[in-house]
Symmetry: C2
């Protein structure tokens, strides 16, 4: 569908732009802000805004797992048009969300040759999740890993306060 | 709808980022690439990609006016969820597309106080139109003006070769 394409193309441009501008910087400046953290920050703010709209008519959540299920289903469908395929947890605040066909990686051939490129295209989405959780009252650390394109695992570690 | 929100929030972040990074640059660098042209360029490439998908099953166009009507209707709906409200032409290659409630301006209050800010939020969309037309074989110059938020006029001048 073309409306997904709008987001995907714009995301692509944003990644390309952030990396291009970084290449033009001096080394000292580069240390201050890495591309991944810039993209993650953008995702964070977009995630905060989106979750507010999506949860507008949602009753409150009973626990962290309930929040994570919402992220895997409603939040994910809203952004990526599919839900997370598998959610696992150790029941101690760590959650692994697996998407077997992650929208932002489907344009890559599924061999190993673009594996190095993957983190660039995951930073924004890690931020999305962290931003959404943050607005639901959960501080978290979100990382992503790819072992086989276009499948992708997001690890969420809830920070206890 | 929240899926529009995704694009709108991401667009907002992108504009903010491009302007922030520009502020950190030296004067000489600033001359090379203005924010408006960076955003316009991003829009151009996104427009090129989108039009290719949207026109996949469309029969070919009979003339420039036919192309412009497609931009006002299918292309606009696809991106902004509504069509252009008014299309005017002098039949000599100049078209004025008026959107009475332009999606990327609806967040502004409709007084005069944010008028200066408007061009930042229009550059990407000017690029979208120019990119789409370019892929349909028409070179153009696209500008936008706002006289009353959130209404907006895009002027397209087709370049004869």
């Amino acid at each position: 569908m073309a409306d997904d394409a709008l987001f995907e193309f714009l995301h692509m441009e944003m990644v390309a732009h952030v990396y291009k501008e970084q290449a033009a910087r001096t080394e000292m400046e580069q240390e201050r802000s890495t591309c991944v953290s810039i993209l993650e920050g953008m995702g964070f703010r977009v995630g905060q805004g989106l979750i507010e709209r999506i949860t507008k008519d949602t009753p409150s959540f009973k626990d962290d797992l309930d929040v994570m299920k919402f992220i895997c289903k409603d939040f994910w469908i809203n952004i990526f048009r599919k839900q997370i395929d598998n959610l696992r947890t150790n029941h101690q605040g760590t959650y692994v969300l697996q998407d077997n066909k992650f929208a932002l990686l489907t344009q890559f051939s599924n061999g190993k040759q673009y594996m190095e490129e993957a983190p660039k295209y995951l930073a924004f989405s890690c931020g999305l999740v962290r931003g959404a959780l943050s607005n639901l009252g959960l501080d978290s650390v979100v990382t992503a890993e790819v072992s086989n394109m276009p499948s992708c695992k997001f690890q969420v570690v809830i920070q206890k306060t």
